[in-house]
C-alpha cells in the first residue's frame, strides 16, 4: 500500500468509518475509480482509503476485515470489488454469469478475430508501435485491424514516430479492464522459453542483416 500522505489537515480515518461512504460512491461509478480520487472526495488519507477498499474486497469475498486468513465467517457476496486498470470497481461474480447475462444483453462485445487478437498482442507488448511495426511482425498489412481495435476502445493513437512521422499506438485503460489487469506489466511474459525472441530486438537494432 502506498504511503502517499494526505493533506496536513486530514486526520486518520478508520476503515470502518470509510466503508459506508466508499460503498455509496462505488454505486455510481461508470469506470474504475482510483483511491486518490476517492481520498480527495472523502478528505481522507489515500493510505486509509486503500486499506478500507482492501477490507471491503475481503468482506465481499466472505472474510472478515480483521486480517486473519482463516476468518471466513461471512457470506461470499454475489458481487466483488476489483482493482483493475489502476482503479476500483464493482463487478458481478463470474460464477453467476449465466443468470446475469440474461439481464445484461447489451454491451457484450463479440469475440475478436484471430487477426485482431494477434495485432492486439503485438501492440500490447511493443507499445508504442506504428502500424508498420505491427505489420513487420505479423507479415501482413494491419491498417483495418488497427482501426477495429481503436473503434472498440482497446487501442489508441499516441503521437508520432519521430523518424517516419507515422502514428504510434498503445493499449487503453479499457484494454486493461477487459483483461482484468491492474497494469500492463501484469501481462504474462512473452514466450520465455524462446530465448531467440529477446535477442531479436538487438538484431533489429543492429541492422546487420
Amino acid at each position: 500500500m502506498s504511503e502517499v500522505a494526505g493533506e496536513g489537515t486530514e486526520e486518520s480515518t478508520s476503515p470502518r468509518e470509510l466503508a459506508g461512504p466508499l460503498e455509496a460512491i462505488l454505486m455510481v461509478v461508470g469506470e474504475p475509480v482510483t483511491a486518490q480520487e476517492l481520498a480527495e472526495v472523502l478528505e481522507a488519507p489515500v493510505a486509509d482509503v486503500e486499506l478500507a477498499l482492501e477490507n471491503l474486497q475481503r468482506d465481499y469475498d466472505g472474510y472478515t476485515g480483521d486480517g486473519t486468513p482463516d476468518s471466513r465467517i461471512g457470506r461470499q457476496r454475489g458481487f466483488e470489488l476489483r482493482h483493475v486498470a489502476g482503479g476500483w470497481r464493482i463487478y458481478s461474480r463470474s460464477e453467476f454469469a449465466p443468470v446475469v447475462s440474461r439481464f445484461v444483453t447489451a454491451g457484450q462485445s463479440s469475440r475478436l478475430s484471430q487477426a485482431a487478437l494477434e495485432t492486439l498482442a503485438v501492440v500490447a507488448y511493443r507499445q508504442p508501435v506504428s502500424r508498420a511495426g505491427v505489420s513487420a511482425i505479423r507479415g501482413v498489412n494491419v491498417d483495418s485491424v488497427v482501426r477495429t481495435l481503436v473503434v472498440r476502445g482497446l487501442v489508441e493513437e499516441c503521437g508520432m514516430e519521430p523518424e517516419t512521422g507515422s502514428l504510434r499506438y498503445r493499449t487503453t485503460p479499457h484494454f486493461l479492464e477487459r483483461l482484468g489487469l491492474d497494469n500492463i506489466s501484469e501481462l504474462p511474459r512473452i514466450a520465455p522459453h524462446l530465448p531467440g525472441v529477446e535477442n531479436l530486438t538487438d538484431m533489429e537494432d543492429s541492422g546487420t542483416y
Partner: protein, 280 residues
Amino acid sequence: MESPPLESATGFNVQLENFTGPFDLLLGLISKHELDITEIALAQVTDEFIAYIRAAGESGGEWALDEASEFLVVAATLLDLKAARLLPSGQVEDEEDVALLEARDLLFARLLQYKAFKEVAANLDERLTDESARFPRDVPLEAQFTALLPKLLWKTDAAALAALATKALEPREAVATDVGLDHLHGSTVSVRDEAENLRALLAGGHPHSFRELTADASEILVVVARFLALLEMFRDAVVSFDQVSPLGELTVRWIARDHDWDGSRVREEYDDALPVGGLP
C-alpha cells in the same frame, strides 16, 4: 525451377481466410508435418507453401500488392533455400552460402517471433473470455445527482451542429497503406531505382528472363525489389509476363506504349527506400 509435385492433394485445405499471414501459413505447414521450426524440412514445406499461394490466387481471391508481397518475400526465401539445398546441416562454402544462411536465420527468427506473439494472442483470448463472465456495475446516474451537475453552457446552434456532423460524416481520405517492409533494413534498395534499372535493361530491347534480370542481385531483397518493380510495371502495362509452366521460367517483355515511362512512376508508397534484410 521444376514444377512442384501437387502435394497439396494430401488434404491441406486451401482457404486463405484460415490464415492471417505468411507466417501463420508457414507455421501451419510446419506443425502439420510435426516439424521443429529449426529443423524445418524445407523442400516439402516450400512446395506446399508455393502450391498454397498458387491455389489461393487461382481460387479467384484478389490479393492486394502489399498483402501478396509478404507472402512473396517468404516464398522467395524458401525457394532460394530449397534451390541451394541449404539445409541446416549444409556445408558453408562461399559467400553466397553465407548470405543464404543469413536469410534462413532471418526467416526462422521472424517465424519464432511471430509464433511467440501468436501464443500471447491465444493467452489474451483466454483472459478476455474469462473476464467476460464478470459484468461491471454501470447504471444510469440517479436523477437527484444529475440535477447537481454544473449547468451546461450551451453555445452550439443548429447550424454549428450541422457543420460538425458534415465534417464527421465526410468520407475520410484514404489512409496511405503501410507496406509491411519496414522490418527490412540495412543497405538500402529502392523499388523505384530498381524499376529504373529494369527499364534501362528492357526498354526497346529483347525479352529477358526473370532469372537473367536478377542474376546480379547481391541479396534476396534486391530480387524482391525487382519483383515488386516488375509488378508495378506490369500494372502500368509497361511490361508483359510470359510463363510456360507453373513456376517455370518467367519471361519479361517490354511492351510500353507510354514512351515516357520511367522509374519515377513507381507508386509513392515505395518512396522510402526498400530496406534490405533487417528486422523491425
